[in-house]
Symmetry: C2
Subunit: 219 residues, 2 copies
């Protein structure tokens, strides 16, 4: 499919701007696990996701991770073009969680059109506000919500994304999403199992009482 079919405000751009973006867009296919953006060292460009799934996360000096947000089909990725704004002063890593296809618009081209086009700039504002809201949600979770609630909410969210109540994920993988050590995850999952909410096996977590998990996760 053409880049125009994935670009949300395409019809608000001039014919010249459309031609500039479409002419510069590059189609990319990546395998699961590929890192497409790694902190401020990279500036691949503005990404329009055709298929697959991405995870944006931050890393501590000690190698701990926490997931900031996820991106799915038809989402756009602004922070893979972080160099277009000098005020973006943080290091984020973006990785394909599944095999993915996407369009990339080089950062210089995106920036050039954004500087001329109020609609594109306003749209960029909305993307940033939306990611900002996700990060604020995360701040509230980390600050005010206990780990059992966060873990229950994460398991339910994963089950919804995967369309399955049997999740192929390691305890370390869960810890990397939630910013916690593997041991903490294992301890809580064992507690969930003893309460009959999940069933654990090597490399998988099966949700057996989603109702109780939902009640635990809260609103």
């Amino acid at each position: 499919m053409e880049v125009s079919g994935y670009f949300p405000i395409w019809e608000q751009l001039t014919a010249q701007q459309q031609a500039r973006l479409a002419g510069a867009a590059v189609r990319r296919d990546v395998k699961k696990g590929t890192v497409i953006h790694n902190g401020s060292a990279d500036c691949l460009g503005f990404a329009l996701i055709c298929s697959g799934q991405f995870r944006a996360y931050i890393l501590s000096d000690e190698g701990r991770e926490i997931t900031i947000y996820r991106l799915f089909e038809r989402d756009v990725c602004l922070f893979s073009a972080s160099c277009i704004m000098r005020s973006i002063q943080f290091e984020i890593t973006i990785e394909a969680e599944k095999d993915a296809q996407f369009w990339i618009i080089p950062p210089q081209v995106y920036q050039e059109v954004m500087e001329q086009s109020a609609p594109l700039s306003n749209y960029t504002n909305e993307i940033m506000a939306s990611r900002f809201s996700e990060v604020m949600w995360l701040v509230e979770q980390v600050l005010w919500k206990s780990f059992d609630k966060r873990l229950a909410a994460f398991l339910l969210e994963e089950a919804a994304i995967e369309g399955s109540s049997c999740l192929k994920i390691t305890h370390e993988g869960i810890g990397n999403h939630l910013g916690n050590a593997r041991e903490v995850v294992t301890r809580m999952l064992r507690y969930f199992q003893s309460e009959g909410m999940v069933r654990l096996a090597r490399g998988s977590v099966e949700l057996v009482d989603e109702k109780r998990l939902a009640a635990l996760a809260g609103p």
Copy 2:
């Protein structure tokens, strides 16, 4: 002083846009402690700070607070006009920490000019990216940094803002900045005192060994 003197990209606006903004701007004076924006219920407008100091914070259901960022003379406040972007989906409170004077541009007027003007929209993007970076810094602090380091960094920052090593602040006030309970603050301050880094008195914390506090706070 005129609103044009506080508006950072004034000369990039058309004469008509300048007239629209200047004509709608309202000067406000508030006393220390005044809440100028209280979550999504309020939408006062875009604020240009002439003097004073503001604090943006979030509140938990249980009434705990954490400071997200501070605003000083010549800073601008975007989130007091949060209704101009539908993707801003979080509740923030903005309060004067000192008596303050500022210009307010009503949200409808700011939005109207931003929709026409790529420079204003791009500038708004930079403000948002800058606040986003501050929140990401906070996430990293809360997630990866121990409380003693965060408290030491906070005391040094306050001393720099106030230009004094004797801070007039309660333990509860510090807890409200850092998102911790008063008891946790008191315990850590007593430890700092026993180590000779601070001297505690009713309603004040005096920094007596800034070098050691800086070493503790880390890079």
